[in-house]
Point group: C2
Chain length 453, copies 2
């Protein structure tokens, strides 16, 4: 515990230095990190081979070892992912709002790093590299809790990034790796030292993290996504989209788990059941579905609570509903607030669904699989959050910054604006500031001409 | 507990109806609420007199009874505050980001209500009225936990708003008042039913709420604000700003508690001490301050931890520091992340302070008292948050909305964009969407002309 407190204190100090670093200093450090990974590919592969040997000797499971194992092409991808982050806009120093409160009194709402981020990852070395580049680019110090089985590989990565940081006169405390499960509880308790937690791993891990810390968490425990096939849906489109949403990556959180079908589209049921069976998808469903599926075997769902299942494999649940309202009630009750889609050619019905379904992503005539930071055009994905506070849904680099309010005056006192002879505020918005469009200059001085009434 | 669960379920249902209500329906309900308060002033005063009589009979403390007591002018202010909210822009349905992912596939990030808000307030009827209007305008159902001592008054207010809701065919479950301390713990546990908690009251209440719920909370437990007087500060301005920040409203969270003075500005110490004493402010300080204060009695602070005190009255702490870095270290260690200000004529020093101090508000040459939603031009203030996640600092009506992602396609599948023959994404931003500038139309259809590369 003391160790982790010391690490967190060093990270806090380092984050202050990183917070005042220029975009180019951060980019140079990341570019140097990418070069070092390239140049040290041989060393990385050798250290990784040690980890893999140990993991095999300990009999760790196959899929974990697969994720742990590096290859030339994985290293190539790692390097490319760092360079991709170099190419993204700096998310800090963006002026979100710019208001002239009165002559000479200017308020700016400006994006800033959170401070220190703790990431809890499983054994994937490429995930560690990606988190390092996202944290540094957004000006945050990073503490990574990695699996002990990746010890040799991740320690080598830490070494490389620390050299790159020192080269840019940035403190090496910006990135620290710790190992082992017992460190997790310590991290979760450090509410005064850690500003954000990014857990990556199993549902159980993420739920444990959410349940055991007061530090904000970016992550989702479950992805129970729905597709609602309206009475006015195009059956061919519906089959195509549902197959895409279920089979393209069945274990992904944005894969569909339940299809709801309007009873007036009942003749779609046997057609869908057949298409799913042909794609080796096991179909579960309500009694009506089973009756309509004619020939395709349906495993009937008898216990209501089973509708809240994230299968994560080639299994899907199908339910026939009375109408749009029943579909939305089903989604509100059994969904996880991740992503839900409606298939319909009726714009009024689509509009009601888009407006009333309370999920991070609500789609019309599109596969739930689009719910992803890269596909959304966010450049990179830190995680997907099903909580309601921002960041909600896929979080990109922007998810790693918050904002603060800067007020620049000339000796202004609040008493001038209260009481009998109170001066009125002007509250003029600066037009140029709409959106994240203006980089904060290092010496921004309020110029009256920027403002309009 | 069952009662509150039922209330929360009704609120959830009501919030769905409210979420699809038009801006004008919400405004008409609020305008009707304002009229009803005006017309029922007599009844309200009579019910309030009952509450006040009971509170006096129970021997409740004087300041609580003051806050509970209504008058013609307080009712007038209540009505004006509701009408002010009618005049604010609807914070929902704003398009924050609008991206053409590919032909016919449009992504929008759109502001939406949280859903159900629970407010925990003490006995001020005017605070209840303000929260009701802010919640309804932002499309959120509201559960208000009021003090039992305000029972008769608040029940009358609830009655008025429910009549106004029904008049607009909005469910009365949009606003529900519950009473008594024991309801708080029940509310805090309802993570699946309540989306946001707004506690208003003592530090102890707010800390208790933050420590005992996984529901997001808008609020701050402490306001330990600092003013740092740099070596290059104008002494006259410094005296004026410090007096404003301490004496204008000593119990406010944005009042200054500690003044840090650069040692090269040591001759400012006796001058400030005298001015503070003349304003009946009791001065505490470090030993150097006590030595320099010449004639003004200083209560010497010997225990470091005392620097983290929110006096909330006419008491102030003064410390002489070596330099800017020591000032910022002091603020990081003893501050509460609320609002801190630097007084200096040196722009580089100001810029470092603005950049490196990690508080919700960081000011230059201005009184900390400006940290306030109304003064910031946010229209109204829901609360001030010292947490790092948005909303940070004063939260206006915007603090009561979050966003969701809407994707409209034409049968698009993710598989088209992956693998060997992957189609590239276009990711064209729509310019018109920069900032919260465009109201979501009820039938928004993607028009290619909106987008530019």
């Amino acid at each position: 515990m003391t160790d982790i407190k010391e690490i967190a204190e060093r990270a806090r100090l380092a984050s202050r230095a990183l917070g005042r670093a220029s975009t180019s200093a951060k980019n140079l450090a990341l570019e140097s990190f990418a070069c070092r990974i390239e140049q040290s590919a041989g060393t990385l592969l050798a250290r990784n081979a040690e980890d893999v040997r140990n993991a095999e000797a300990e009999g760790l499971n196959r899929s974990l070892i697969e994720r742990l194992k590096l290859s030339d092409s994985k290293i190539h991808q790692m390097v490319a992912s760092v360079r991709q982050v170099v190419g993204l806009n700096d998310p800090t120093g963006q002026v979100l709002r710019d208001t002239l409160l009165d002559d000479g009194l200017e308020l700016q709402q400006v994006t800033v790093p959170f401070g220190t981020i703790a990431a809890i990852v499983e054994s994937r070395p490429d995930a560690v590299v990606q988190l390092i580049s996202l944290a540094l680019k957004s000006g945050n110090a990073l503490i990574v809790k990695a699996g002990r089985e990746a010890n040799a590989t991740v320690a080598a990565i830490e070494q490389l990034v620390r050299c790159s940081l020192l080269e840019q006169e940035l403190p090496e405390g910006c990135v620290t790796v710790i190992y082992g499960r017992e460190a997790v509880a310590d991290l979760l308790g450090m509410v005064d030292w850690i500003d954000l937690i990014v857990p990556r791993g199993s549902k159980e891990l993420i739920r444990y993290v959410q349940d055991n810390t007061r530090i904000p968490v970016i992550g989702h425990a479950e992805g129970i996504c729905h597709i609602y096939v309206d009475a006015e849906a195009d059956c061919e489109m519906a089959t195509r989209v549902i197959l895409d949403a279920k089979t393209q990556a069945p274990s992904a959180c944005n894969a569909v788990e339940t299809v709801l079908i309007h009873r007036d589209a009942a003749d779609f049921v046997p057609r869908l059941a057949k298409a799913l069976a042909n794609a080796s998808v096991r179909v579960r469903g309500c009694e009506v579905t089973a009756r309509l599926a004619a020939g395709t075997p349906i495993d009937v769902i008898t216990d209501e609570s089973e509708w809240a299942t994230e299968y994560g494999d080639l299994t899907i649940a199908v339910r026939v509903v009375e109408n749009l309202d029943q579909a939305m009630t089903h989604i509100a009750r059994f969904g996880s607030g991740h992503t839900d889609s409606i298939l319909t050619s009726n714009p009024e019905v689509a509009q009601r669904f888009l407006r009333e379904v309370d999920s991070a992503g609500v789609f019309h005539n599109a596969s739930t699989r689009f719910a992803d930071g890269f596909r959304y055009g966010l450049g990179a994905e830190v995680g997907i959050s099903t909580g309601k506070l921002p960041p909600r849904g896929p979080a990109g680099l922007d998810g790693l910054v918050t904002y603060k309010w800067l007020l620049r005056g000339n000796g202004h006192c609040a008493s001038s604006y209260t009481g009998e002879n109170a001066k009125p505020f002007k509250h003029r918005q600066c037009h140029a500031s709409a959106g994240r469009c203006r980089q904060l200059t290092s010496q921004s001085s309020p110029a009256a001409s920027k403002f309009t009434t």
